[in-house]
Symmetry: C2
Subunit: 192 residues, 2 copies
DNA sequence: CTCAAGTTGAACACCACTGTTCGACTTAAG
DNA sequence: CTTAAGTCGAACAGTGGTGTTCAACTTGAG
């Protein structure tokens, strides 16, 4: 289905992948990463970068699309719609905290550089997964209903991000992240 | 005590204050705010800005120092050392969430532009207030001790920041922020 | 009133980043 | 092997930020 008359050469394909990988890392590490730095990180000439992505904006959008797709896949693998909501949230945190944090950082960047409204719909795709899990938990009576739903979603993302930052800074071990998140989020979300 | 042979003229003093005010807002709204933009926001010529703050770096440090001092004062007014730890935390959130969020944003920016280590000590002054309150709560048995202290501090700051973002984005009313924070943080921090 | 302190815009050199063009070179595909 | 697709560095123009200098102007203090 991707053979729609693109007919790219194999090395071009490889470079595009390397660029997207490098751009994802670069953008999440430093929002103001330059095109030159990204090209260098991808092991590719600056001209090659521009050959595939004519502008910084286009590149950012491509990275974002890819991150959203990846996040969607990882989330679905955790089957957030099955079993007790509490267990589903545990599975989600365990498998996806890192992926979701990357997405969050990209979203922040894109919001600044591409404008807020333009991103809402794309962002929704990912956020909705979390939100519908929380709604299900409320219906089951295990998650609290005394606070706005937007706030609950914010709480999940915010702590996810915080854990990722701590891991990045070295003050939290990566293996402990999911457990710590669980121990903090479950009581914060639980109904009394 | 501030009369130590500075002998600045009154309008200079006024301009410096206006610049620091504008810079605080500008930096927290947009980390990449330019010197020209800050001067404009302060209602002051670009040259005047440079007359008082010879570089962007110096200005950022001055803003940071001021924010730390302000945060310290606001925190102390909430008397975090008196009464039950839970009540003290409530007072702190009620009076300081906005101030603490501003400080957090500045800290993030300064960390990127001035280097991480250089900021640790200054940051400590503010963080310690929160940390010692949490430690006191642990000793009283009302706050949990099963997670690293650094994580508990991170949790408080992270949700503080999230609430401020939501208020800024319009999805949370400013008057509700403290209450929502309380309702989320207390169960997250409580011992079982 | 007087004068030093302070402000201002215009102009300057400098630098980093963006995006483009070119011509020479390398590599995958048939 | 041939050739079209792709890569590369160098060099370019344009933009926007930083920090400086200067000479004219305004303002506060004594």
């Amino acid at each position: 289905m991707a053979t729609t008359e693109t007919r790219r050469r194999a090395d071009a394909e490889r470079n595009i992948a390397a660029i997207l990988d490098a751009a994802l890392v670069s953008f999440t590490e430093d929002p103001s990463a330059s095109m030159a730095a990204i090209a260098r990180a991808a092991g590719v000439g600056r001209v090659t970068l521009y050959a595939h992505f004519p502008s910084r904006e286009v590149l950012l959008e491509a990275v974002l699309d890819r991150a959203i797709a990846a996040a969607g896949e990882v989330i679905e693998k955790a089957t957030p719609g099955e079993g007790p909501a509490t267990d589903a949230l545990r599975r989600l945190l365990q498998s996806s905290w890192h992926e979701l944090d990357q997405h969050r950082k990209l979203f922040d960047l894109a919001q600044r550089e591409l404008g807020a409204t333009r991103l809402r719909q794309r962002h929704r795709e990912v956020v909705d997964h979390v939100e519908s899990l929380l709604v299900r938990g409320q219906q089951e009576g295990v998650f609290r209903s005394d606070l706005p739903m937007t706030w609950l979603v914010t709480t999940v993302y915010s702590l996810l991000h915080a854990a990722a930052e701590d891991v990045n800074a070295g003050s939290l071990a990566a293996e402990e992240a999911a457990g710590v998140l669980e121990a903090t989020l479950l009581p914060a979300l639980a109904s009394r």
